[in-house]
């Protein structure tokens, strides 16, 4: 089976109420590949946490007019890769964080690999991989 061409690309305004839309879109992508159960649950939780980070942290300074969350998902060689990208101000410590600070630890626990890197000139991307059957 050649899955290299199969991918999901999604862009939504970076608002809390849009995160379920992202989650459902990714769920549809996974369902289309017969990926369900705990593995799908893990991926949906991880992408939710990554998108929540964007909403809570990425655009705090308000300098980006059209703040968006961009999400890619692809399946290649039995590995699902989900990337969440923003064009915001990057990761920075936040003493007034409204959350528990569990987002990144949860992502780390759920993924096979995770990379968090800046995307010059602005923004951050979180690249998460999930090895199927692992």
């Amino acid at each position: 089976m050649n899955d290299e061409q199969v991918q999901l690309e999604l862009s939504v305004p970076a608002k809390a109420e849009n995160i379920p839309l992202v989650r459902h879109a990714v769920a549809g992508f996974l369902d289309g590949h017969s990926i369900g159960g705990d593995q799908a649950s893990d991926m949906l939780l991880a992408v939710t946490e990554a998108c929540t980070n964007v909403v809570q942290h990425a655009y705090r300074d308000g300098s980006v007019a059209d703040a968006e969350i961009e999400v890619w998902a692809e399946l290649t060689d039995a590995v699902v890769t989900i990337t969440v990208r923003d064009q915001g101000g990057g990761f920075a410590p936040r003493v007034d964080s409204p959350g528990l600070g569990l987002g990144l630890p949860v992502i780390a626990a759920l993924t096979t690999t995770v990379e968090i890197r800046p995307t010059p000139p602005s923004g951050t991307e979180v690249v998460m991989t999930f090895a199927l059957g692992a």
Partner: protein
């Protein structure tokens, strides 16, 4: 497949539903249905606040909870701590395996009382 979506609207996932009733003098059951994340955290917080006002034991029936993330966990944890501070507790019943897994992963199962 490329999607560009506008804001969430009526076509999006439905909002969570909350319904509470008392089963004993000190026990209020809060039935929750839907997906609990940052988008529904305020609604969950309000529902728990209302249930806490009814008594010292809040039993959240999670049978209808299809999804729960760390933001929602934070809301549950805050409620559990408020109740514990006055001698009460937050109980969670009918949690799906997926919800239990999140609770276990984050060790919040130590603070929220799980009921089989």
């Amino acid at each position: 497949m490329v999607l560009h979506m506008a804001d969430a609207n009526d076509a999006g996932p439905r909002h969570p539903q909350f319904q509470q009733h008392k089963v004993e003098e000190a026990v209020t059951v809060l039935h929750v249905e839907g997906e609990l994340d940052i988008g529904s955290a305020d609604a969950l917080r309000s529902a728990l606040d209302a249930a806490e006002a009814q008594g010292d034991i809040v039993r959240l029936d999670a049978r209808g909870v299809q999804f729960l993330d760390s933001t929602a966990l934070g809301v549950l944890l805050a409620s559990a701590q408020r109740l514990a501070a006055r001698g009460g507790r937050l109980e969670l019943m009918n949690a799906s395996p997926a919800v239990r897994r999140v609770l276990d992963m984050t060790l919040i199962a130590r603070t929220v009382h799980l009921i089989p």
